[in-house]
Amino acid sequence: MSEQEYVPKSKAGKWFNDRLPLLSLASHLTDYPTPKNLNYWWTFGGILTFCLLTQIITGIVLAMHYVAHADLAFASVEHIMRDVNYGWLIRYIHSNGASMFFLAVYIHIFRSLFYGSYKSPREIIWILGLMIYLLMMAAAFMGYVLPWGQMSFWGATVITNLFSAIPLVGDSITTWLWGAYSVDNPTLTRFFSLHYLIPFLILGLVVLHIWALHVPGNNNPVGIDIKKPSKDTVPFHPYITIKDTFALLLFMIIFAGFVFFAPNVLGHSDNYIQANPMVTPAHIVPEWYLLPFYAILRSVPDKLGGVILMFGAIFILFVLPWLDTSKVRSAVFRPIYRQFFWILILDVLVLGYVGAMPAEGIYLVLARVGTVYYFLHFLVILPVVGYLEKTEPVPLSISEPVLSGSADYSIAKKDNEKI
């Protein structure tokens, strides 16, 4: 994909590269022509990679000390917090890291929604991203069960019970998932095993996600196709790497703020009570990042209906590239869609809020309105707006809207080689 074939300078390098073109790959990644107008919303891809690696590394260390057993799990977490050197730091990075991961992925997803990054020719990137998101939710849910606190146990009970809504075989499936007749030790051990597996599946999908990205190249805030390389692009290194690093550092400051000064603020206090199948917590709530889906689930009085809607809310995103009929990608040039984008954000936030509240009275009404609107947005508003909307004129190149864009790619590249 880079302009000219890369040839290693040293003989050994050439010998190796002819057999396994790793150096060509590195060269491609370094030179990868990137739109020069990418804003800070585009830095979350790098931030997410950081989040994944952080979770994997801290998770591997935690697994050295954690005991996956119903009688010992809670105590082993306390052992990590008290007796393992810097165990508290590793565990708090891991538990808050999950929240930071979701914060970043939601920004990443909504960036894609705003700038139309899911549209042709990037549908596969979008679908791979959604698969990563699904696996993230599975990993986060199972990870939350591992400390075997009250919220772990009862959260697992509520979520696994969802599968019993499947007609005819639901109860058998639920029993099969549990490995017992209720959430118990076999459930914990299999969740631990899967929780260790999923991040590596995610890693594999991330490679495909980036591979698929490097075929058409990045979308950009203007949302137009650009010539690569051209004066509209810069080489990935050092222009994007330095910008990603800066954004990552700002992100890490917020991350550190949670880890060191409010490590439990995003969790639930009940999870510091050891799981007790005989005592139901007053108020079972999932972690904050799953609340909108929880609100959708509870907005339907019928169990099967609720489950279908909840999964539907995610799976509808898979067909999003075909639901959006607009030829223009970026919401910058779509005055009507832009309004609906912000209403959708508000809708999801409202759903998240009511997901944390008891499903009754005004909250239930809000949850129902929010759920209906969510589906309305994707099934009706997007296709219709795409046809009716009068979009604003789209520039022919990135340099056009950027007043001071003067240097071209080859100059930038030459400068790059000087340092």
């Binding site: 306390e78 509520v158 019993s164 222009y239 206090s269």
Partner: protein, 258 residues
């Protein structure tokens, strides 16, 4: 299907129940704890007094199974001297074994031992306390909404039940307790313990001291966490300034506006 409906009903009623209950409940008293804030530290003397209250009052019913006696001497905690920790540990009978003959035996505690629990198991603890298990206090502060403020408020929140409220035998009225009913009697009274450092043992003082002690027990890493946190964030801020300047320099070659 039926099973879930039942579950859903339980869930719904519990949430309703919870809101109704929380309607009666008042917010806990806000105390200006020394360990709050970015640079918060525990008050060493208060931790030591708090341990004394725990040991003389609470420990007869409440276990603290995740703490070891050595923790009492570690930095960031009550910081008893090595001799004091040894003496504290030696004051407890610890069951050990089996020995070479296969018999269990008791011996004086060592600093490496976990805190000795007052009851052999949860059922025994519940049976001895009118069916209510006195919760383990190792992480109690983290396990309650409101944390230290809530624990302190419950300790000083005992009062006579308002007219119209009847209480069963062995149930007490507490202004701050969730649901206002508590099975733990009001165990604190002025002058109950003799503080080694001469501080006057008022109910308020003891409640504050023991809450401080429990806060440390739940988060023994708090002081080093705060200290490390300040350093980490300062480092990240400085590094981001340097990276920001580098970024400006690099991008100036392409587009001075970025």
């Amino acid at each position: 299907m039926k099973k879930f409906k039942l579950f859903f009903c339980i869930l719904l009623s519990l949430t309703i129940f919870n809101t109704l209950k929380s309607a009666e409940q008042i917010d806990p008293i806000k105390v200006d704890w020394s360990f709050k804030g970015l640079l918060g530290k525990f008050d060493r003397a208060s931790l030591q007094r708090g341990y004394q209250v725990y040991n003389e009052v609470c420990a007869s019913c409440h276990s603290m199974q995740y703490l070891s006696y050595r923790n009492l001497g570690e930095p960031g905690g009550p910081e008893f001297s090595e001799e004091e920790v040894k003496a504290i540990a030696a004051g407890f009978e610890v069951t050990d074994g089996p020995d070479a003959q296969g018999e269990m035996f008791t011996r004086p505690g060592r600093p490496s031992d976990k805190f000795v629990s007052p009851y052999p198991n949860v059922n025994a603890a519940a049976a001895a306390n009118g069916g209510a298990y006195p919760p383990d206090m190792s992480v109690l502060v983290k396990a309650r909404k409101g944390g230290a403020n809530y624990i302190y408020s419950v300790l000083v929140g005992y009062e006579d039940p308002p007219t119209g409220v009847t209480l069963d035998e062995g149930v007490y009225y507490n202004k701050y307790m969730i649901g206002n009913k508590i099975k733990m009697p009001n165990n604190l009274s002025d002058g109950l313990v003799d503080y080694a450092d001469g501080t006057e043992a008022t109910v308020d003082q003891m409640a504050k001291d023991v809450t401080t002690f429990l806060s440390w027990a739940a988060e023994p890493e708090l002081e080093s966490r705060h200290k490390t946190g300040v350093k980490v964030i300062l480092y990240l801020v400085l590094l981001s300034i340097l990276v920001f300047l580098s970024m400006k320099k690099i991008w100036s070659r392409v587009n001075p506006e970025v």
